[in-house]
């Protein structure tokens, strides 16, 4: 099996695993980080080291990092918490959010939930490459807009939104900016000291950390304020209660430290693999690349392609030895074509016949060659089998 689905999740890096182990062993460092005694202080110290490691990866202060269970919770906390802090829905004031049609489901579903409570939400349509421009966001702003939620890197097609350009213009207008950076952390250089993002979500398992832990960056200057969505002991500056999972937190810290240390090598490796695979697969007649092709506006670690003229399920079945995401990507349980590809203007048929290849540290050039050979052969075979007029 060749695994090319690193954008869905990564394995835990060996060094991350080793860093976590002392906190998992029966005779290990089991203290509650909130306890005021020796074992508690040790756990607390490990949590704070990890907090610094996460902060360092994104150019933040450690005190701006709030631990969560992952990017889904971070996104929920950011969006719901920001609105609730402003009195929504109790104060009855109109509230408007701007987001895009191609956000992750956890942002879209959170927005839809807020709509049921009376919020107004604008879901912007991206351009043909999946990009939501700063101009499009600014044009959607109304006097009631309190929050813009936009992903930095699209998880299906790798489009990079120009957050650097958008952030200061929202700051001028007094509108908060939340960024889902689950696919951006460790893939793009992020420096929140220079980019005026207020809230930013990250996840550990997208960058060789464990599943079940993530973080929300909450800016301190100027202070981004949130109402907690999880109530309890007032942990995490009152924004997210619950005893911290020390081993998970330590794993996320180690993963971020590793991502920072390996950043240049990782990006160069992924970009090389992506470009090599595209060079091979673009020889397939009629193949379509979903998302941008120009260097810095395309995430380095993934490639999304459509293969018109083949049926999606048979395409996936014929590639049984290769783990990739299909045109239904994160929504594969619903068997519906990807809403991201549809927002780009792909029809259902083409969206279904799409594959997302995403690359990891262990992916080799030989694997890319093998995958290219297989995909080229299987697409040709399925087209040969088809009675439909030839595409491309």
């Amino acid at each position: 099996m060749i695994y090319l689905d690193y954008a869905a999740t990564t394995p835990i890096d060996e060094a991350v695993f080793e860093a976590m182990l002392p906190y998992l062993k029966p005779d290990g460092l089991h203290g509650n980080p909130a306890s005021t005694h020796g074992p508690g202080f040790k756990a607390r110290a490990a949590v704070e080291t990890a907090r610094q490691q996460v902060a360092a990866l994104i150019g933040a202060e450690a005190s701006e990092i709030i631990w969560t269970s992952g990017a889904t919770e971070s996104n929920n906390l950011a969006i719901k918490g920001a609105l609730e802090f402003r009195g929504f829905p109790k104060n009855g004031k109109p509230v408007h959010i701007v987001t895009s049609k191609t956000e992750h489901k956890c942002v879209l579903d959170t927005c839809r939930q807020l709509e049921t409570l009376g919020a107004r939400v604008s879901y912007l349509k991206p351009d043909g490459q999946g990009r939501v421009t700063a101009e499009a966001v600014l044009a959607a702003i109304t006097p009631d807009t309190v929050l813009v939620s936009l992903m930095w890197v699209n998880n299906e097609i790798g489009t990079v939104n120009d957050i650097e350009q958008l952030a200061p213009r929202l700051r001028e207008r007094g509108v908060m900016l939340h960024v889902d950076a689950a696919q951006a952390a460790g893939k793009l250089a992020i420096d929140l000291k220079t980019v005026a993002v207020d809230l930013l979500s990250v996840s550990a398992h997208k960058l060789y950390g464990p599943k079940g832990v993530g973080a929300l960056y909450v800016r301190r200057k100027p202070r981004a304020r949130l109402s907690p969505q999880m109530h309890g002991g007032g942990h995490e500056q009152g924004m997210r209660s619950g005893t911290l999972a020390t081993h998970q937190v330590v794993g996320m810290g180690a993963a971020c430290a590793l991502a920072a240390a390996r950043f240049d090598a990782d990006v160069a490796h992924w970009r090389g693999l992506r470009d090599a695979l595209w060079a091979r697969l673009q020889t397939i007649p009629g193949v379509l690349r979903n998302g941008p092709t120009d260097g810095d506006r395309a995430a380095p670690h993934l490639l999304n392609l459509s293969f018109p003229g083949v049926e999606g399920e048979s395409l996936r079945a014929s590639l049984g030895g290769i783990a990739v995401s299909s045109g239904s990507a994160c929504s594969s349980a619903t068997a519906e074509p990807s809403y991201v590809l549809r927002a780009l203007g792909r029809d259902d048929e083409t969206a279904n016949a799409s594959l997302r290849f995403s690359f990891g540290r262990r992916t080799t050039a030989a694997e890319i060659e093998q995958v290219a050979d297989t995909v080229i052969a299987q697409v040709a075979w399925l087209r040969e089998l088809s009675p439909l007029p030839r595409n491309g």
Binding site: M1, E313, S314, A317, G320, G321, L385, P387
Partner: protein
Amino acid sequence: MTETDDGNAFGYAPEIWRLFRNAPNAGAFPDGTPGVVSAEAGTPAARSVLRLALRFDGARVIDGRFQAYGCPASIAVGAWIAGWASGRHVDELRLLKAAHLREALEIPEDRAHCALLGEDALRAVLSRHQEQRA
């Protein structure tokens, strides 16, 4: 569902998987081949098209070919019918129903339309064959 060594990562029934992977009888007869009757059936909602071509000697099929656009089950149905029909008389072919296809290929309920696709394609061929002989 568990992955098997033959690459059947999605756990298709063994016969569906075998016919999908090997696709026996795939293709079309060369233009002008005598005795060939072909017809198509489709299920637009399920986005499948099956073209079945049978070569007849009178009322008996000599051999068959198929082309298919669709899921593995619909491809397997085409391959199965094209092979099964060979050597059979039209009276036998008329008895084939979707239920037989579902049983022979272990086609699950949610893919029942693939079996209907096969039955429709075969009926269309037989109907055309009858017209030609009339």
